[in-house]
Amino acid sequence: MSTKRFALAALLAGATFLTAVSVEARTLRWARSQDATTLDPHSGNTGPNHVMGHNIYEPLVLRAFDGKLQGALATEWRVLPDDPSTWEFKLRPNVKFHNGNAFTADDVVFSLKRAMQPAADMKSLLVSVEDVTKVDDLTVRIKTKGPNALLVNNLTNMFIMDKEWSEQNNATQVQDLKSKTENFATRNAMGTGPFQLVSREPDQRTVMRRFENYWGRDAVQNDITEIVYRPIPEAATRVAALLSGEVDWVQDLPPQDIERLRTAQGVRVNTGPENRPIFLGMNVGVPELRSSDVKGKNPFADVRVRQAVNGAINRDAIQRVVMRGQSQPAGMIASPLVNGYTKELDTPPKYDVAAARKMIADAGYPNGFSTTLHCTNDRYVNDEGICQAVVGMLGQIGIKATLVAQSLRVHFPAIQRGEYDFYLLGWGIPTFDSHYVFNDLYRTKTSSAGTWNGTGFSDPELDKKIDSLNSEVDLAKRNATIAEIWKQVQASNVYAPIHNQFIAYGMRSDFDIPVDVENTPKVRFIESRRS
């Protein structure tokens, strides 16, 4: 291992003789609960995968820690004045891949098309794209199927690979899990990002080394020369490792440890909101709940029951006790960063047990009813704790909910299949636009829309309004439609929003890493603090 690393380092030093000026090596030992499933940047659309991507690869545009959109490999972008269906991107000049190859429009065309392959998980963000063409070495145009004013928002996790490297290594096809072969890009990577891959042992450790020829090297405000990323599933072990100085940074600190770690010697804690509302879904679509003692009818189909559920949840108590203050109670499924968010809509329903009881009784369930609440136990901050608290609160209005907490690997597909009566879900909104919420959570389920609508909620009129957002170029008009839709879906009470979760980074105090709203931190933006 160490000899191998040494050999690689030597090789690297040879290739990049610019590094003659020796810099003191500084390693960032980074821990998180889970690992990326693959390094292939187009193969899986999940946060942990994008974390790797954002440090080795780069997209055309990205969001900084504060969520602001900024150019990465693109310097300028616009919709062509004469063609609202075509976007033009000016590419950054003098950018090199880790292997020394120059970054050109060919790489962009190749990568975007690669991300649109049938096996690519990223393709859903590019469904509106018709074609990608090279204008010159540093200009690319993306033609969409209709006008798409917000396309650029969909490109923040769309990473650019070296075309030549991919061709040489047989990695032009996205890693296809259906075939029994491994893609070269699964465990290797060739991007333009600030770090280059040194070694990767899935679920154990991934080592990255600073890329000395990174185009933005001068803007980097830290002296981190190496990243060692280690997944540590047990929360307590992660915290122990941080306390004992075995890791420098824990990306997902449990909220209960925040206070203690804030006072611990040599440890710093940064917290901040993530762009990810957490909410409960109620199945209104089935004629009879599968898990209920009420037969022949579906209590959740009655809006009064749904209102009662919303009113019975003490969001403040959840924030104070379960989340230890690390959340913002919510009334809508959108964080303040999202286009369409308003403070009024986000005001949580009033917590009133008596009123909730009355509503349940009015709906014809004076003695309540039973059901099963499905929940993850490995995805969101204290997800199982939230669900336990909800079960207790609902018990006070007569809803006897049995809690089933399991892995997201079981939970998510069941939601997508519409198998749950009552469930917890969180929704990250990478496009920062309400359409992403409507289209996936409220729209009638089809093969391409409503994929995460496990409630069976369906309103054809609403669907039309949601679809109209796709091609509306007049932003004012579009925003008006969004407000209208919000009013309607809020009244439906089909979801019970709980809060926007905060995330906490714990680190050794010689680092100061701000919380990334998308929770895909980019190490180059870290400002170094040397003590």
Binding site: M1, L177, D203, L243, S244
Partner: protein, 327 residues
């Protein structure tokens, strides 16, 4: 003797087949293997295609037969989660678990034997009684609590030992070892102790009671009546006779250390097979689980065979019986 070995091998094969069947069939229905492959935005069509491509729509016997045929060729399938060949995954994780298990087994064996013999010889001694009581506390402590406790004391409070992982490892061919680096050795200490603890107490108590049993036998009394020194009686006569039953049970116990490592590896985030198994159970990664179970079965079979051989070596009665069964 050859017939005996052949019979053992046939039995081993049957055991393996049974284990493979259990491994394959039990988790087949739990969870959704497809979920672990496609991201959050998979369409129904994608799911169906994938299901077909993975053969998840075929009848069970067909799936099992395919699984067996592939396994026989060393193809243990592709991890649902990682999309990598399971054989490669196991291969990567194997050294970590083997290293941990062997060291734990060694520790458990050496200390367990020593303490067992000691407490048997000094039956009523103060220290022996203290050790026996302590061993009961040990048996009553769940492995995960020991792990948590050790981490709290030695990693968090004292900061002497790392709380997770293997530290730096050195690659020797396809094998990796943590024994050649300081951080690797340090990382081994707590997991090895944790894993060895339960086995150690078991072996110790077993050795003690077997040895006490042997010490009451006529041949030990006769040896004493012949003036054979205690030392010789303890370590030549009693110990070897103790070893006959101890070897069988200890062998099986040590074989199970590998699977026992599930909890230890989870607590210490040890990058071994046990942790992989737990992760795989959580994500319903059928090929990995099946392969893991088959691996445990294989270890059982091999250990069993080795135990039989040691047994033959120790006990001349079996040796002559198997050499000339007609006698």
């Amino acid at each position: 003797m050859i017939a005996y070995l052949l019979r053992s091998l046939v039995q081993a094969a049957l055991v393996m087949l049974a284990v493979a069947f259990i491994a394959f069939s039990m988790f087949r229905f739990v969870g959704d293997p497809i979920a672990s492959i496609v991201g959050q935005d998979a369409t129904l069509k994608d799911r169906q295609e994938l299901s077909r491509a993975l053969g998840l729509d075929d009848p069970m016997p067909v799936q099992f037969a395919r699984f067996l045929a592939n396994a026989a060729q060393g193809d243990l399938g592709l991890s649902y989660r990682q999309g990598r060949p399971v054989a490669a995954l196991l291969g990567e994780r194997l050294p970590a678990t083997i290293e941990l298990a062997l060291l734990s087994a060694l520790l458990a064996l050496v200390v367990g034997l020593t303490l067992g013999v000691y407490t048997a010889i000094r039956r009523n001694g103060l220290l022996a009684n203290v050790i026996m009581s302590a061993s009961l506390v040990g048996v009553s402590l769940p492995t995960f609590l020991i792990g948590i406790g050790l981490i709290y004391i030695f990693s968090v409070e004292l900061r002497w030992l790392p709380s997770f992982g293997r530290g730096d490892v050195v690659r020797l061919g396809w094998w990796t070892t943590g024994l050649l680096t300081e951080s690797g050795r340090k990382s081994l200490v707590m997991p090895v102790v944790t894993l060895a603890f339960f086995q150690l107490t078991l072996i110790m108590r077993l050795v003690r009671s077997e040895m006490l049993e042997v010490m009451r036998t006529e041949y030990v009394r006769f040896a004493r009546a012949r003036g054979i020194p205690d030392r010789v009686i303890h370590f030549r006569h009693a110990l070897r006779n103790t070893m006959v039953p101890v070897v069988t049970i200890t062998g099986l116990q040590l074989g199970s250390v590998i699977a026992f490592a599930i909890v230890t590896e989870t607590v210490f985030n040890w990058p071994g097979l046990g942790a992989l198994f737990v992760q795989s159970v959580q994500v319903v990664d059928v090929p990995v689980m099946a392969a893991y179970l088959m691996f445990v079965g294989l270890v059982f079979v091999v250990v069993n065979l080795l135990t039989d051989l040691v047994y033959l070596m120790l006990d001349p009665r079996l040796r002559s019986a198997s050499a000339a069964p007609a006698r």
